[in-house]
Amino acid sequence: MDERPEDDLVEDARRGSREAFAGLVRLHERRVYGLVFRMAGNHSDAADLAQEVFLTAWRSIASFRRGSSFYTWLYRIAVNTSLTFLRKRSREKDRAEFHENMAGVDSGRDASFSAEGNCSQNELRARIDEAIDSLPGHFRASFVLVVSQGFSHADAAGILGCSENTVSWRMHKARKILQARLKPYLGEVRS
């Protein structure tokens, strides 16, 4: 295992060292995977996306500016790759568009689950995954970075290329949408 500091690995990778790049992959693979998994919603697509992220990063490593943050650059590639994937997928799949005024309406995709029955932990988890899955792309990206990946608003803003205030508003909007959509299930678990 390459124990060199990340900056050294980045510098060597920029000079063409695949071994150094492999070291960077090991440092970031779990978080990158976590991010694309949350964006794609399933492991199969997430695995392919994560590979694509690192391939893109390797291909364009020479364009990475010395002195800037490697993980911001890498995660930006991950977010953009995920958003491109989601746009392609939304054309291919019949996906109900998610809006606040449709909160509480069953999309009909999983007729076997009823909010009137017992909402077990696993079922709630599945509902939450489904609800996050149907957030609009940029809302989902902000939500995943901040909640699933634990980035601050400032760091997420750096990755997304927007202001901290924009991230703050997107988080608020995403939470409002999710809470409205999941209210029946959250209420069931609470009681």
């Binding site: 391939l55 390797w58 939470r175 999710l178």
Partner: protein, 201 residues
């Protein structure tokens, strides 16, 4: 204090982005508002469930790295030297010439091969802009992106020399009447944030 503002503060608080002053006011409101307390409970629950991630085995990661390594062997990083633009300084003239050449060829082919549809034109449909435009028609998010890219490319090709001096729309008092409360709040929040940072000079 309006509940709508409190909900925004609750969201910021969950992310550790709420100032201590606002946090104190938030707690005062929550003591008296059951609706907001329930909202907070829902958000806290969501946060806990959404934050947890699937844990994959070391074997999975070993396989992931092997798979990636085999692909990296076939991919060469793009070297900085080879990225030097060929047409430095006059790229718009070249872009225009290239476009005109394409247009001329396209026109010739269109005229000389009557009845051909876009799908059978000399540019394969899969690679043409028609595919993107069709996607834009079906998906408003794609449409927004396409419009932004198109506008950005137009601005790049023909930068407006008067842009810096154009009378901003916000100077008109009527402009403000066209903004929703939400938009006004966003503007105020953004100005407040910039005021804290010193703001643009």
């Amino acid at each position: 204090m309006r509940c709508e503002t409190i909900k925004k503060w609750l969201s910021d608080d969950l992310d550790g982005a709420l100032s201590s002053k606002r946090k104190a006011r938030l707690e005062i409101h929550l003591r008296e508002c059951l609706v907001c307390r329930r909202y907070r409970a829902d958000l806290t629950r969501l946060q806990a469930e959404a934050a947890s991630a699937a844990d994959l085995s070391p074997e999975y990661w070993a396989a992931f790295e092997r798979r990636l390594e085999s692909k990296l062997a076939f991919v060469e990083p793009v070297r900085e030297a080879s990225r030097a633009p060929l047409f430095r300084g006059r790229k718009w003239a070249w872009a225009a010439a290239g476009f005109l050449a394409l247009a001329a060829v396209g026109t010739y082919l269109a005229v000389s091969r009557p009845g051909r549809t876009l799908e059978t034109a000399w540019v394969p449909y899969e690679d043409s802009i028609a595919r993107i435009l069709q996607a834009a028609e079906e998906d408003p998010e794609v449409e927004n992106l396409v419009n932004r890219e198109l506008l950005a490319s137009i601005t790049e090709v023909a930068p407006d020399p008067e842009e810096a001096y154009a009378a901003p729309l916000a100077a008109d008092p009527l402009f403000w009447e066209g903004l929703s409360e939400e938009e006004l709040e966003y503007i105020a929040a953004e100005l407040e944030r910039e005021a804290g940072q010193g703001g643009p000079k």
